[in-house]
Structures are given as C-alpha cells and as structure tokens.
Symmetry: C2
Subunit: 431 residues, 2 copies
C-alpha cells in the first residue's frame, strides 16, 4: 500500500475534523484512494494548548519551515484561516511542489487568481471545496458536474450563523440581539460576529461561487453587501403575514449579459425550498440552461462536514496526482464581466417606515413614489404609538434606482419620522 504524508496547517475546528475523519474512516480511504493517508506534521500557534482531539504531541510544530522543508510531505492542508500567513504558506508550499487543500474562503476570494496561477505554474493541484457550503459539494458541482451548462443564476443561503439567527428570530419571535447571544453561547457565532452578521463571510463565498459559475474572476468589490443587524421581529412578522420568510441570500445572476451580485436579507416565498432551510443548514440553488434548477442542501459548516470536503479534496489529489487537474475558470479574467449597477436591480420591495399620524401623509408619500415610477402592490397601516403610525409598502416589480430616489425624497418629508427598513423580495419559483 502506497503512503502519503500530509502537513496540516492549523488544528482548530476544521483541523480537528480532518484529523478525526482520517482516523475514523482509514479503511474506506485506503480502499478508495489507494493510499494510506498519514498526517505527519501539524502546524499550530501554541503547542501546549489543551486540545479536544487525540493527536500525538510530537507531530505538532510551531515552525512552518519544518513542514515546508520536509520532502516526504506531498500535500499541505491549510486550515488556519485569514490572509496572512496562510496565503504565503500556500504559495511557498506549491513552490516546493506540494499540492494544497484549503477551506479558506477569504484567501480564495481575495487571492484566488494568484494562488491558482501558482498552482498551474508549479504543476501542483489546489482544491478548496470546503471554502463554501461546508460539506455541500458546490465547488465541485460548478467545476465538474455542471460543466455542460451556461449558468444563469446561483442563489444561496451560504452563512450558517446568520441563518441560525434568522431561524431563531422567526420561530421564537426574539430580537436579533437575543438570537445572536444564543448563537454565541452555542458556538455558532464568534465573539466578534461582524464577519457573519455584516455578511462579509457570505460575500467571500458568493465571490467564489460567481467566479466559478460565470467563468471569470469576480472581485469582492463588485458585490453589493448588506447584513442582518437591522432586521426586527416586526419585519419577520410582516413577512409571515405576507407569505414570506426572511433569509440572508447570496445572489448572482446573469441578466442580459451583465452580472448582478448581491448579498442581503431577502423575503423568500414561504413555500419555496430555500424558505425551509433552517438553523445552520446551507443550501444553494443553481439554474443552468441544460440542467434547469438544482438545489444542494446540507451542513454548511462544522468540523466534520467541512472536514468531509477537505478530505474529499485530498483523495481527489491522490487520484489525479500523475496528471494534475486544473480548473482554469478562476485563474484570470479573460473578458471581465460587465457588472450590473445596483440601481438596475429589479425586484419587489418591502418598505417599512414610521410616519406622523395625520391626514395627508399617506398621500404625500404615495405621490413621491408615483413621481419616481414606483407603483404599489399593497399598503398596510398598523401599530399606533403616540402620534406615529407604522406604514408598510409592498411595491410592484421596480428598479432599485427608483426606490432609492423615492427614499431620498421621502426621508426629507417632515411627516416621516424614519424609514425603518427596505427589504428586497425575490419571488423565486421552481420552474
């Protein structure tokens, strides 16, 4: 039996998952890859840290060079996270002809072109299935299975933390703050939750997915991003009454040759499969011109699901090592896509505002909308507090630019206390 040595960079959540899977499924992995997989060195920051995993201490090191200079190590698995030193370590490993597997969405989203160019130049493989959707085979899906398609849309719930929070707010009618606190207690959210709740994490992931789906490097700066911190229980309640559920979606669409790229809270029809993806589950809907609509659903994070993707990538490398496989899509922008301006997005909108409770206010606001070509599907007036009332408008399908112009004008009115929230509605349907 051939043997392969792996250098593991990082022994946190994902590193632990990788270690445990390689131990637990040793026999299957041998049979399926033809190799005995041996994690021979592990890079950590602190050797003496207490760890919830049974790893022989002598294989831990704090010196990356011990792994880099070890010629018996053929594959480096990077599960440290962040840009530095991770990207540097990956590049140096590839220059030493070591294949690389990573689960690092930030590195791939921001340095993907450099990393993948290096891999081709050095004749080694770089796989990153774990970087989006945990154990859901979405990267491979786009690179391999759907290769016969022109992809038209990729729409997904690709952040487990915010989905957990929104699910909890919906089910238990608690505030964002309460739901976040529980997510932190349960280990679903980090102490500093910014990356998740402000939607940076799903922005990186959408960047990767759209680069693969549309055969071109997408820069994160192209992506319109809004987090979920402004979602109130009352918005969720209105959504429910209107037949919707609020989800944080990553949306990438090819609209008339322009790419629409956005991550934001979205109202989704309650009977759509995405509406029923709860807690820390992820799901990605892909529309291709041959396959039609396809949905992949599963655990989007966690040490074992992410480890499943990472170890799957290791096996792919072993199977292809005599003839490295590259997927060029991400490597360089051939003809850069035209990016659709956010003002050109078209959908329905939910707009909630607090206004003074006096005659003529509704008329004034409606006339502002009208002048900006925004027409209304419905208006709900509810909840009186002192001299104010809450107004909710649902628009017909409208250009975002017209909504923004209207909101600028509406905000100037003395009778409008506050525009509380504007949420896009996507009337997704399965064909």
């Amino acid at each position: 039996m051939k043997k392969v040595n792996i250098g593991l960079l990082g022994l946190g959540n994902v590193g632990r998952g990788v270690w445990n899977i390689v131990e637990e499924n040793k026999d299957e992995l041998k049979k399926r890859s033809g190799y005995e997989i041996n994690i021979s060195k592990i890079l950590v920051k602190d050797i003496d840290k207490q760890r919830e995993v049974d790893v022989p201490k002598e294989i831990l090191t704090t010196d990356f060079n011990k792994i880099l200079e070890d010629d018996s190590i053929d594959i480096v698995v990077e599960v440290i996270g962040g840009i530095e030193p991770s990207v540097d370590y990956m590049i140096r490993s590839m220059k030493k002809k070591k294949h690389v597997v990573t689960a690092n969405k930030m590195a791939i989203a921001t340095k993907g072109s450099t990393l993948l160019r290096t891999s081709r130049e050095e004749g080694v493989m770089l796989f990153y299935e774990g970087s989006v959707g945990g154990g859901i085979p979405i990267i491979n899906g786009l690179n391999e299975n759907l290769v016969a398609n022109k992809i038209e849309e990729v729409i997904g719930i690709i952040n487990g933390t915010t989905n957990y929070i929104l699910s909890k707010m919906t089910r238990e009618k608690v505030s964002f703050e309460e739901a976040l606190k529980e997510a932190q207690e349960k280990g679903y959210a980090e102490a500093d939750p910014t990356s998740d709740v402000e939607a940076f994490d799903p922005m990186y992931k959408l960047c990767i997915l759209s680069s693969l789906a549309f055969d071109n490097v997408v820069n994160i700066s192209y992506i319109h991003r809004e987090g979920i911190t402004n979602i109130k229980p009352i918005d969720i309640e209105y959504a429910r009454e209107l037949g919707y559920v609020i989800k944080l979606l990553g949306i990438a669409k090819d609209v008339d040759g322009e790419l629409e790229l956005r991550v934001h809270p979205t109202m989704v029809p309650a009977n759509h499969p995405l509406a029923n993806v709860n807690d820390s589950f992820n799901a990605v809907l892909i529309k291709g011109n041959a396959v039609g609509e396809l949905m992949l659903y599963g655990r989007g994070a966690g040490e074992l699901p992410t480890g499943s993707a990472v170890v799957g990538d290791i096996v792919s490398i072993l199977r292809n090592r005599d003839n490295p496989l590259y997927y060029s899509k991400f490597e360089e922008a051939t003809i850069p896509h035209k990016i659709r301006d956010i003002n050109k997005v078209q959908c329905e909108y939910y707009i909630r505002m607090t206004v003074k409770d006096k005659p003529g206010v509704l008329g004034e606001i409606c006339s502002i909308f009208g002048k900006n070509n925004v027409s209304m599907l419905s208006v709900i007036q509810k909840g009186r507090r002192e001299e104010c009332v809450s107004l909710v408008f649902i628009t017909h399908n409208t250009l975002e630019g017209n909504i923004r112009k209207s909101m600028d004008k509406v905000s100037l009115s003395n009778d409008v206390v506050k525009v509380e929230n504007v949420i896009r509605i996507e009337n997704l349907g399965l064909q």
Copy 2:
C-alpha cells in the same frame, strides 16, 4: 484547438438533449474542456424518421460498425437504453479503446461489473452520471465528493413518473388511473408504464446508488420492491390527516453492518424536505458519518437535464484522458454485504382494512396484533358502507416480520373483508 469526435448511439430524448447542449453551449465547452466537441456519427434504428432536432442526415447511420470501426471516434455515448444491443455495443467500443458514456440504468444495474471491469482492462473510462437522477450529480457525489465518508443511508425520490402521479393524486385528489392517464398524455409516463409504476426503474437506480454508497456490487435481487398501483386517494387522505405525504422512496441503509434495500410507497412527515419534492423532480438524501445529512434536488429526467449529465461526463473524460480515472467500487464484490431480510426491517406501519361492522371485530384484530408483538399507536374507524367499516391502524415501531405474521392471521378472520393496504412510515428527520 484540439477536436474530439463522438459517436452517439441513439437520438431519442436523451440523444436529442446531448446534441442540443453540444450545439448551444459550444463556446463554454471549448473553454472548459480544451476541446471542440464534434458529434460525427449517430446510430439510429430508422434513418427516415421525422425528428424534432436539426441534425444533418448524412451523419445518421443504422450500422453500429460504422462507428466502431471509425478510428477518429474517441468517445461513444450510449443512449439507446435496454440491455441488448446496448451492453454489447459498449463492450465492443471499449475493446476498440473508445471511452464510453451512458445514461442506461438498466445496463449499469445489471451488467455494471462486467462493463466496469472491461473499462479498466481496456484502459478507457466509463461514466454514467445520467443513469440516476437526471441532472442531479449524485453518482459523482458518491464517487468523489463524499469519498471521505462512511455512508450510512441513501434515501431518495428517484423516479419522476411516479412522483408526478403521486403529487397529482395528492394535490387534486384524483385516482391513480386518472393521474397515470394525464402523465401519459403529458409525456411523463410511457404507453406501457410498468417499469415506473411497478418500481423497476427506481430499483435499478437504487441498485446503482447502493453499490456506490456501500462500496460493493448490489444485485437487484437483493432489493425489496413494491410499486404504487395500490395507492388509493383514501390512503393519501389518511396520510394527510396523520401529517404525512406518500412518496415512492428508494431506501438503502447500513443497519448494524447489514444492508437494508427497499423501494416502496412510504409515508414521509409532511414537513420533511422530501415531502415537498413534487411533480417530476427528484431528490436524494445522503447521510455520511462526516458530512451529516445532505440533500440533492433537481430534475430527475428530461432530455436537457439528462443531457447535462451526459455532456458533463464527456468533459470529465476529456479532462482525464491522459490518465484515466476509475472508481473501483462497482467493479467487483470484495466482501459481499450481508443483506438484511425484509422481515427484519423496523418502522411504523399504516394498515388499512375493510371489516364487517359488528361487535368484537376490533378486539379480535387487536388481539392478533398483540399476540404478534405489534403494538398500536392509533386506530381510526371511518367510512361506513353497507355492513362494512374501514379500519386504519398506525403501529408503533415494529419488526416487519411481526406485521406479516399478523396480516396472515388477520386475513383468515371471517370478519375481515379485505386488508386494503399496508404502507411503511419513515419518520425521517434532519439531525
């Protein structure tokens, strides 16, 4: 630009899809595979047939040898169907060092070992993603993405025709016969619907999925099979009242080292994602010891979705042609799995019978169940017709053997007019 010639065997539904995708997505395919894909010869039965596809007549042939002996053809795509002559054509093609792609579940399920052994012996690839779940990447999922997992369960809706019929019966409360008639009119069911409604088609597919999931050749004779012809609107209505939906499921589970393999109508909790897979959509739920639960959902048939899988396989071959990829799982039984006897299956059961409406009948039946260790969760008595009543029992979790023994005894009772239906209930939950 390199060019590859393809010989297409069959120009029916799937053949048409393959042709159209290769035409329509030519540019993407070039960019992604590095090849210009050229379908240079097509085998059909009748050259003069009117076809809904714009193919130059001069490339059609009725003589397989024209393709076999053409050394410029590197890949043969078999979309004729059935065992003969398809299997023979595939084997002869491989012996001529041509790679093969097929969507033929019957051929893979029954002759998979021979076909895959030949592929390895001849050093050519044989891919068959289109054979299960149309455009859903389930074969590749098991072969590649989930390779790091011990698979515990594969449960799926893998026949579009019966799912269409059951969805229609559920939504419109029509009979099986009416729903079948409409499915035939719409082209979802064939003139002779036996293969679908008697569940042969999903049996072949489950055979393939379980062979891949459990690393061993599963023989179709191991699979317990029941079709949907006996499902009545009243069963669907009872299911609804009890919070279930009836679906035809293929189920493969590893239970204590034994394989449980069955295809039959099943009651699924109404809030489970599988319950909401309607019409001709397919979905497969996979449970792995690393990835947890994963669901793949999409169009399970149709010319373009199936063509998407077939053309995806062509690209995989082009990418790997210098170093052929084999997945050995299916090739030979290493240690044959122990197959779990159907009498050892454990679940809840729905039992509907017509009995004489007289005192003591219920007691008599309950005592038979009791003697056979079947305990009841609930009993519903409804619908009086002349001197008969309809009785519905829902059992606790029970051994199938005990159910069968009870039913044998119950049938002998003079007071029991007929045991109308016995349907297994799977209380699937997402973890």
